[in-house]
């Protein structure tokens, strides 16, 4: 037997009020907790984040300690992931590598998010020539495949982790700008925005306190997906020798070295690769789950 309740019944109205009064973040977290995919992603990310934070406690060896006599040792009780071409403990380097990945991810997505959301918010809300100019700039950036744009920026700035972070940040800007602008365009037409205009609120105030909080859902989803792209792009740049430089224990740099010893010491390549896979999978799961939880149209 099913119970149907009319839309205007006191029960539904009461629930709607309770739902509204909980605010965006309370609803967001409750939906996220109920979505199994996003929870699987969140658990995976939290686990790797914990490994990154506790690296000095968890790593059995100094990640940069060279022990030539121990070089290219296969996985054993002493070195669970084996050792590299300089006798460094791979497990310790993989653990410290998590710090690099999160660091790069947070800084570069921070750049993309900060600049992109600002462009999307201002362009979408104010419209006109400014919006057209912003969108043309974004279209130009979209005209380059992600890795090509990142490579070009690194070619300008020179190889290294800071250049890679800036490059990945810039590459992320157009996606955040487009997503924010799209949502702002629909929110701009809402009654509560008109009401704020009527009472004489300033543009920056309306954008910051009335529009931005209502376009957060797609931005949060994109942040998660952006983090996965950032981790992958950093690994790609480092693999090409243009990101993190030796002896920094970046997973991409480790894979670059591992490739030379693929037949005699495959463990050099297997473990850093699995680490990248897990982090990217975690962010993708989280992003997918959040999209499902926050956007009912995506369910299926």
């Amino acid at each position: 037997m099913t119970l149907s309740v009319a839309d205007d019944s006191p029960l539904v109205t009461q629930r709607k009020r309770a739902h509204r009064s909980r605010g965006f973040w309370a609803v967001f977290f409750s939906r996220m907790l109920r979505n199994r995919i996003s929870m699987a992603g969140a658990v995976l990310i939290l686990a790797v984040l914990l490994v990154a934070v506790l690296a000095p406690l968890l790593a059995p060896y100094d990640p940069d300690a060279v022990q030539i006599r121990e070089r290219l040792q296969p996985p054993s009780a002493a070195h669970i992931f084996g050792t590299d071409e300089l006798g460094r403990d791979i497990a310790s380097r993989v653990i410290y590598g998590a710090q690099i990945s999160f660091y790069v991810g947070l800084i570069s997505v921070g750049i993309g998010l900060g600049v992109g959301v600002l462009i999307g918010l201002i362009g979408g809300y104010l419209g006109g020539v400014l919006d057209a100019a912003f969108m043309l700039l974004m279209d130009i950036m979209f005209a380059f495949p992600t890795i090509l744009l990142a490579l070009t920026i690194v070619a300008i700035l020179g190889a290294g982790l800071p250049s890679a972070m800036i490059a990945i940040g810039i590459v992320n800007i157009p996606t955040f700008a487009r997503i924010t602008r799209g949502s702002v365009l629909s929110v701009r037409e809402k009654d509560y925005v008109d009401a704020a205009v009527v009472i004489g609120a300033k543009d920056w105030r309306i954008m910051l306190f009335h529009v931005l909080p209502n376009v957060m859902a797609p931005i949060i989803v994109q942040t998660s997906l952006g983090l996965s792209i950032a981790v992958l792009t950093e690994a790609s740049l480092s693999f090409l020798g243009l990101g993190a430089q030796p002896p920094t224990p970046s997973w991409g740099t480790m894979l670059y070295t591992g490739q030379r010893y693929i037949e005699e010491a495959p463990w050099l390549s297997i473990f850093p690769g699995v680490a990248i896979l897990l982090v990217v999978l975690g962010f993708n799961l989280l992003g997918d789950g959040l999209r499902e939880a926050l956007d009912p149209h995506m369910k299926g």
């Binding site: 380059f144 495949p145 090509l148 070619a155 090409l240 690769g273 896979l277 999978l281």
Partner: protein, 316 residues
């Protein structure tokens, strides 16, 4: 339709101009003087050589004049000469395009033949164990770095299928069979991550379409399930997939760098990276411009194809 095509082409012009400005500015954005950087590795540099390079970049003229001189050369297909080899860049690019194109098209083909059937199956069996497996495989495929997948494929084949290796490059028209043997691993590495994306998209649109009323009507009329899926659902579900396929083809063309490096393929990616490593900025400038223009062209073609296929798109 003709008006739509003209309008769409006109809209591309500002983007092309923007790309040209960005690529032109590349050598001006480098910290320091580009001539000093290029000559950095040469011990004895004559004043003539220095001036020759300055003149080559047009650095003795105002910026705007430099841009228009450069643009007028680019429009005529002249991308300048390499600072290291002195060879015309366009000639070298054209030598390398077929390799990247072949790799992209093979990967694309692999993508289409695996991703679309799997996506349809997963959507049709939505909620079943097979669907769950397909979704997990899709997510894994999306998360695996293609260069790691390539390394692992090299590892596995080095143990079980050594015949797939070959030390030197053989062109497609030189020896087609040898060439295809050489391309199997690179195209698998490049194609699989893209296949995961296409599969997810096919599944998502098919699930949505299968819930539409016209599918219910088709079933109610007593049509066979195969007809419902292939004639009614697939036709409509494939429209967004076609767009994504086109975009991914562009990405494969412009993103095959690492795969080319791993398998030592003499394509555009290897060429560009060589330019970056050796700080041959004219080469970097020319190659980036070429790839970006190609990418825009593919996106334009996809848009036009989409408009042709989808009657809902307004031409006004």
């Amino acid at each position: 339709m003709i008006r739509y095509i003209i309008r769409r082409i006109i809209l591309v012009i500002p983007v092309l101009l923007g790309i040209s400005i960005f690529v032109f500015m590349l050598i001006h954005l480098i910290p320091g003087n580009v001539v000093d950087i290029i000559l950095g590795h040469e011990v004895h540099v004559s004043a003539e050589r220095y001036e020759e390079l300055r003149a080559m970049f047009g650095l003795d003229k105002p910026l705007l004049v430099q841009y228009f001189i450069w643009l007028s050369r680019v429009v005529r297909g002249d991308l300048g000469v390499s600072a290291l080899t002195n060879r015309p860049i366009m000639e070298d690019i054209l030598l390398r395009v077929p390799v990247t194109l072949e790799l992209s098209l093979l990967s694309f083909f692999l993508c289409v033949i695996t991703a679309i059937p799997l996506g349809i199956l997963s959507a049709y069996k939505s909620g079943s164990a097979a669907d769950a497996v397909a979704r997990v495989v899709g997510l894994l495929g999306l998360s695996v770095p293609n260069f790691w997948l390539a390394t692992m494929l090299v590892l596995v084949t080095s143990l079980y299928a050594r015949f797939l290796f070959r030390s030197s490059w053989v062109g497609l028209f030189e020896n087609p069979l040898e060439n295809l043997r050489l391309m199997i691993l690179p195209s698998l590495s490049l194609g699989l991550a893209n296949a995961a994306m296409i599969m997810r998209m096919t599944r998502a649109t098919m699930v949505e379409v299968m819930q539409q009323e016209y599918i219910m009507t088709a079933r109610a009329k007593g049509l066979r399930e195969k007809m419902v899926v292939l004639r009614h659902a697939l036709k409509n579900a494939l429209l967004p997939v076609v767009t994504l396929l086109g975009i991914r083809l562009g990405y494969m063309m412009g993103g095959a760098f690492i795969i080319e490096v791993i398998f030592s393929l003499p394509g555009l990616g290897t060429f560009l990276l060589q330019g970056i490593y050796q700080r041959d900025y004219p080469l970097v400038q020319g190659t980036v411009l070429f790839i970006a223009l190609f990418f825009v062209l593919i996106n334009l073609l996809v848009d036009l194809l989409y408009a042709y296929l989808d009657p809902k798109i307004s031409y006004n």
